[in-house]
Structure formats: C-alpha cells, structure tokens
C-alpha cells in the first residue's frame, strides 16, 4: 500500500496507489487532482458577469436566474458525467480483471472481465488529438480462435498517465498473470 506521484500526458500531477491484497490480487488506483475551487469560481464568475452584462442591457431578470440555473446544472453534469475522480484496476489472479472509474459525484462505473476472455495486457501507442501517447490496454480473445485479438479495452482512459506509471502497473500485472497461468 504505497502512494507514488506521477504526471499525466499533459503534465498534470496524478497519484498511483498500489494496494496488494495478496500475492495474486492487487489493486491499482490512479487518482487525478480534485476539481479545484478556483476553477469553479472562475467559471461561475465569468458566467454570472456575462449574465449581468446581458441583464444590464435587457432589463430582464430571467437572464440572471437562468444563469444561476445554468451554472448549477453545469456543475452537476460536470461532476456527474465528466470529472473522473479516480480510476482503479483490480487484478485477481486466475479470476479476472475489474476496471472501475468513479466520478466526482461518487457515481461508479465498474466492469469485470473474466480471465478466460483475457489474452494479455500490453502497453500500446496511439494517436490522441494532436499527440502520440502510450496507454495500457487489455486484449480480449476471440471466443473461438484463442490466438486472435477480438477487441481492446483501454485502461485509465480519463486520467492518462505517462509511460513511467504505466510501466509500473504493467509489470506487476504481468507478474500476476504469469504466476496464475
């Protein structure tokens, strides 16, 4: 159970938390920084100032109320659907891999992949927006020909760690996978 500081592909600080429950069961949690009050303040103020400017010209109070509503709803949606607080990867030898990402609002999305479907875990390269990044992904087998890769499940999608972090996770995943084959 140790914390380590890394950066994501845009240089923002993230922390990797490795939690080893047992020799064949580890949990990795990548947590990105909390949503900063300053940012929220800036956005809210900007929206409200804009609204006030509009209100100043069109003497219509509906503008202000709508602005408040917009900011609230926007914040709600943001923390509920956009802002991912931390993503965790639970590797249980010979049982499977569980990927879960929990949003700032506490909403949690979890998927469990059985070991019989997993072919391998690899670090891969992809072109993302205007840069080329490394990412960790789980390769799934074709149901019938086990050597074919049917599809790919990328891990840590919202907080994109850099190579160093990925390699650390990757290595200990490989340990477990190799011991439990």
């Amino acid at each position: 159970m140790e914390e380590e500081a890394f950066t994501d592909i845009n240089g923002k600080p993230i922390t990797l938390d490795c939690h080893s429950h047992s020799s064949f069961c580890r949990e990795f949690t990548v947590s990105s920084p909390k949503v900063s009050i300053g940012k929220v303040m800036v956005y809210t103020c900007s929206v409200w100032l804009l609204a006030y400017a509009v209100f100043f010209f069109t003497q219509n109070t509906a503008v202000l109320s709508s602005a408040i509503l917009i900011t609230l709803v926007g914040m709600m949606l943001h923390i509920h659907f956009v802002k991912v607080d931390h993503e965790s990867l639970l590797v249980i030898g010979s049982l499977g891999i569980q990927v879960s990402s929990s949003y700032a609002s506490g909403r949690e999305v979890t998927t469990f992949i059985e070991m019989s479907k997993i072919k391998d875990i690899v670090i891969n390269e992809a072109i993302y927006m205007h840069q080329i990044i490394y990412y960790l992904c789980v390769l799934l087998k074709e149901p019938f020909e086990p050597n074919e890769v049917s599809s790919v499940v990328p891990l840590f999608q919202s907080s994109k760690p850099r190579l160093g972090c990925l390699v650390k996770v990757y290595k200990s995943c490989q340990e477990i996978l190799s011991t439990c084959q």
Partner: protein
C-alpha cells in the same frame, strides 16, 4: 474512432513489454525519420526505396522511424520487420495519395514524432509528396538537419511544373543535403530548385539481386517473348507500345508479348489486340505483386521499356538481373543505368524502337548473346542496397555536423533565395510556423512527452521480445 485506431494498433502487441531504457538511445549513430506520403500499403519505386534503405540502416545500427499519412483503416503506429516503426498520421489526403499542404497543420503531429523519437536527421522523399515538403519546413523550424531524396524528373514547360518547382525551391532552400538517383536527375533538381550542386549527391536506387535470378528453363524454346512490366499510363509510353506490337507481330510470327501492369492505357493495348487478332500472342497480365514480377520476367528473352521519362529505371535493372536483353528508350537517366552491351537504347519513336528490337531479335535467333547467368553475375553487384545505405550514411554524417540556420538568417535566406514575392510570402509562413511551434511548446512542453521505447535494430527490444516469446 479512437477505439478503431487502437483496434488497428494492436499489431504492435507486446513490443513494449519491457520498460523504456532510454540509455540505449545514446549509443546510436543517427536517429533518422523518413517522411513521405508514399509508403506501404501503397506500392511503387519510392515505397520500396524507403523500406529497403531503412532496413539496411537498421542493420547498420541506426534508429529509423517512418512517418506517412493514414491509409484508410491503417492508422496509428505499426511495426514492420526488425521493429521498423511506422507512424500513419491522420492527415487529410488530397489527391493521388498526396496530403493537402498548408505548411502548418501537420506541425503538431510531426513535432510529436520528432521529439519522442529524439530524431537527429529528417529524411524526406519524393517531390510529389507534400507531406515531405511540410516535414522539411517544420524540421527547419524545430532546428533539425534535413536530407531530401528526389525520385522524379520534371519539365519546365507547363504551369503545374512551374508551381511545383517554386515549392521545391522554397523547401529546399535551407535543406542541408539533397540526394538524387541519377546524374540527369541531379542536373534537373539543381535547375529546378536553384541549388548549389555541391550539396547534391547522386546515389542510385538498387534492386535486391537475390529476388531477380535468371531461370532459362522457364523460357519457351519455340518462341521469342518480349516482356513489358510497367504501369499502363501515358508517361510510360504505352502508346508507343501500341504502335510497336502490330509492326513486329506482323513480321515475326513466333513473337509473343507479355505485359504486366494496370492503368488507364490498358484500353489502347486491348484495342490493338482486338484489331490485329493477337489474343494468343499478346497477354495482358494486369497488376502484378512485387513477388510475382520475377516469375514473369524469367519467361521472356527481351525486356522492353518504352518510358517517356525516367529518373532511374529500376525495371530495366531487374530485367537485366533476370538475364534478359534490355531494349529501352533513351530518356532521362536511363543511359547511365546499364553498360552499353547490356542495353539497346533507341529514340522514343515507334520506328527506332522497332529497329532496335529487330536487331536484338536477330541476335537472339543467332543466339550471340551471353548466357543469362553471366548477365546476372555482371548486374548483380552493380546496385545493392548495402552500398546505397553506406553512401546515404556518409550523407548523414556530413549533415549532422552542420549548423541549422537561426530564424533570422533563415528568413533572410528565403527572401534572397526564392525571389521577392514567394520568398517574402514563405518567410511570413515560416514566421507563423515558428510562432505556432512556440504555442505548442507552451501548451505541451517537450519534457512532458514520453521518449519512445526503442525497439529497432538487430539488438533492439524487438529481437529480444520475439526470442523471449518463443520460449514462453
């Protein structure tokens, strides 16, 4: 789309299983990035040149990556033999597999490639490829040394070539070194992109002699076969071929034509075949895979090339390497390629070509030609990729030493070198490019880019990985 790309990129499987040991980068000689619009899955002279050259350089212990544009679903990062890494960048293709050039939009991706691969030399190919031009431009903005290989000849007459030449002048005006495939091509390039001939080297193309070995047993004894292998387009003089076929076929009843290749001019040949009832003697094989070419070549006695312009004709070398008698038009760099006793040069007219073929056929009948094996032995050592790689390496060594012009000088050079109008326009564009680069560096500093894991080379991770995969 991301999903799709990743699904595509899975080919790279566990090439990065082990961690990035950056130390390996240091003992390299050069980190080279080949940039061109034309690469596999597209097929042609430039493509094979880039591939073979890269392989040889990797064998020599350099690090080579290739950047080209995405071909349909083939986008992202792929690995080829010996861990040759290919970036298929998602840039918009404009026409004939050449990307649209705005001198700016391709900067972010190319910068990413250059930085993360720690490139020291940028090597661009083919003046048809606008991506190559962009790469040269950006590389200079980023302060990298550049090399450019020109594979094609251009006229000076029509408007399009005038424009292309202007573009070439601009992109090559501060390129460190230029490589041409033949002396004619060198002269042409020097004239087009008003250059100092001292910085233009001539390094011919090569063919892999082991792929093109003669096999006389394949030749039918009762007939004489003329083989033509080229794309069926105007530039390859297919109209001439359409004139030659009936002339000779009427004279020699035992003459057969074997034509490989595809293109718009196929109609011409088919019409000729229809008109003169030559279906049994003129066989159109359609498009050929590179591996099938040898099988076609060895069936023939004479190799005919009717091109109207060629910088360096690989086809005739392949033909000669298979022990065929080569008859070709005297255009472009072709006279330089083969010694006179291996090739019969004619003027690009039906008359002259027919005469040349007549002589060769006559000699063939009296078989006063050396045996295919001996021809092969002579040709075998003329052009090898190893030699090409050595000479290119020299160019790199020379280039790396040179200093890159700072922005001010670069602008001045552009203004002075490329004429007042275009010069100042592109000086402005260079300014923009520089500012854009600054913006990008502010948005994403270089230190936040992961250095790419280096898999290439004989001792690279690639080999280790494959070997390790074997025993587990």
């Amino acid at each position: 789309m991301g999903q799709r790309r990743r699904a595509g990129a899975v080919k790279t499987l566990s090439s990065e299983r082990d961690s990035a040991d950056v130390a390996r980068i240091c003992n390299r000689k050069h980190n080279i990035c080949m940039v061109s619009d034309f690469f596999y899955p597209n097929m042609g002279g430039v493509e094979s040149h880039i591939y073979q050259l890269s392989q040889c350089l990797i064998e020599k212990g350099h690090k080579v990556v290739i950047a080209t544009h995405a071909y349909g679903r083939r986008r992202g990062v792929r690995y080829l033999t010996n861990g040759l890494k290919v970036y298929y960048l998602p840039l918009q293709v404009m026409y004939s597999q050449s990307t649209a050039t705005t001198c700016v939009h391709s900067l972010p991706l190319l910068r990413c490639v250059f930085v993360r691969e720690q490139i020291t030399v940028v090597h661009a190919h083919s003046s048809f490829s606008s991506m190559a031009h962009d790469a040269l431009f950006h590389a200079k903005t980023m302060g990298l040394n550049t090399v450019f290989t020109d594979h094609s000849l251009f006229g000076f007459a029509d408007l399009s070539s005038v424009l292309t030449n202007k573009l070439l002048t601009i992109t090559l005006c501060d390129t460190n070194h230029i490589v041409c495939v033949s002396y004619t091509s060198k002269e042409n390039t020097v004239l087009r992109a008003v250059l100092n001939p001292e910085i233009v080297s001539v390094i011919p193309n090569a063919v892999d002699p082991t792929d093109f070995t003669p096999d006389p047993s394949q030749r039918p004894a009762d007939r004489i076969t003329i083989v033509v292998i080229s794309r069926l387009v105007y530039r390859k003089g297919i109209d001439l071929l359409g004139g030659i076929i009936p002339e000779l076929c009427l004279k020699h009843p035992d003459l057969h034509f074997l034509i490989g290749g595809e293109g718009p001019k196929r109609l011409v040949l088919e019409e000729v075949r229809e008109k003169y009832q030559l279906h049994d003697r003129v066989r159109l094989l359609g498009a050929l895979e590179h591996k099938d070419v040898r099988g076609v070549l060895v069936q023939g006695h004479i190799f005919l090339n009717t091109s109207l312009t060629e910088a360096f004709c690989m086809a005739i070398v392949e033909g000669a390497s298979c022990g065929l008698q080569v008859v070709s038009t005297r255009v472009g760099g072709i006279p330089e390629v083969l010694p006179d006793d291996l090739i019969t040069l004619c003027e690009p007219t039906v008359r002259s070509l027919c005469d040349g073929l007549e002589q060769v056929i006559a000699k063939q009948r009296s078989d006063s030609f050396p045996s295919p094996a001996s021809i092969h032995n002579r040709v075998r050592n003329l052009y090898t990729w190893k030699n090409v790689a050595e000479r290119t390496e020299k160019v790199y060594d020379k280039v790396v030493g040179e200093e890159v012009l700072p922005l001010a000088k670069r602008l001045r050079r552009l203004r002075s070198h490329c004429g007042p109008v275009a010069g100042s326009i592109f000086a402005f564009v260079a300014m923009l490019d520089f500012l854009f680069l600054l913006l990008l560096q502010w948005l994403l500093p270089d230190r936040f880019m992961d250095v790419a894991v280096d898999a290439t080379g004989p001792h690279g991770l690639w080999r280790q990985k494959t070997s390790r995969k074997k025993f587990d």
